[in-house]
């Protein structure tokens, strides 16, 4: 019997492993089971404040354009159907279905009932210490379909 050998360089493939969404969902379920729903929010807040610190800095420099560029990049990468509407004081993200939720559902991974916090808490943390705030206007848990609004706390006169 011959030996099977597979050699790959990083450049041979694109980095897109959607099963990670399932692992994140499992992590949120674990947190809620062990520590309660607040722990899910605390963890996501801490993560977002730490990881997205450069993005928050960019929001303070460039305003909502920085958030538009961020969401344009990640939702395009994840092949989502979405629109982004940017005005001076508002950015509206209209997401037809969340690629993370759809992948979790398609693969049969457990979907955390707090998965919406990956939008709500994370985006609130992104806006913390900036002139902007976040509102999750609508959210459909089974698909992640949502309307997400970033807006200036006190609109410029």
């Amino acid at each position: 019997m011959t030996k099977d050998v597979m050699n790959r360089n990083a450049k041979d493939n694109d980095y897109l492993h959607k099963d990670f969404h399932g692992a994140l969902s499992a992590g949120l379920i674990y947190l809620e089971e062990r520590f309660g729903a607040n722990a899910v929010r605390e963890y996501l807040w801490q993560f977002a404040k730490a990881y997205y610190a450069p993005l928050t800095d960019d929001v303070n420099r460039r305003g909502l354009v920085a958030l538009r560029d961020h969401f344009q990049k990640i939702y395009t990468l994840e092949q989502a159907i979405f629109t982004l509407a940017l005005s001076e004081n508002e950015l509206i993200l209209n997401l037809e279905a969340c690629p993370a939720v759809m992948h979790i559902q398609a693969k049969g991974y457990p979907l955390s009932p707090r998965f919406y916090e990956t939008c709500k808490t994370v985006n609130q943390a992104l806006c913390d210490e900036t002139p902007f705030a976040f509102e999750l206007v609508t959210y459909e848990p089974a698909t992640g379909q949502s309307i997400q609004k970033f807006y200036r706390r006190s609109p410029k006169p």
Binding site: M1, V5, Y15, L16, L24, A26, G27, Y30, A50, T118
Partner: protein
């Protein structure tokens, strides 16, 4: 949404969060939970295909993760090996300028996969001596005579 391309920092930060809550035992508890809850596909592939199930499982995941690796399967000897030349996950964490990786980040691979494979009759070893350079070697050997 946290993109799947941003998951690894989220994962590493979760380990830190759990350790702050309950020490290292809490991190182990989570890894055991994740292995049981999330690695059913590895378990099924090995149950159906023997050690080739490892080849099938990691052929999928390592290609999607754009890893730099050499993978070998010798079914006659009952041996499977991943020589990771550059782990995309640890590599990503080492590259982040504003975040530090969880101290024992690479240990999760050892705990998660060992927990699936050892009860199925396979011996696992993970050489983490070069993890600080995003390199490792994972070996699985059949213990069946």
């Amino acid at each position: 949404m946290i993109s799947c391309t941003e998951f690894i920092p989220a994962y590493s930060e979760l380990f830190k969060f759990l350790e702050a809550r309950g020490g290292k035992p809490m991190v182990y508890d989570f890894w055991n939970y994740l292995s049981d809850a999330f690695l059913g596909n590895l378990r099924d592939l090995v149950a159906q295909n023997g050690i080739r199930g490892c080849w099938l499982y990691w052929s999928h995941t390592l290609n999607e993760e754009a890893a730099d690796f050499t993978m070998e399967l010798d079914e006659e000897k009952g041996e499977f090996q991943i020589l990771m030349h550059h782990c995309p996950s640890k590599g990503r964490l080492l590259k982040e300028k504003h975040l530090t990786a969880y101290r024992d980040y690479c240990e999760h691979c050892d705990v998660l996969y060992r927990r699936v494979l050892e009860p199925m009759g396979y011996e696992c070893s993970l050489d983490r001596s070069q993890c600080d350079r995003a390199k490792c070697c994972f070996m699985v050997k059949s213990t069946k005579k």
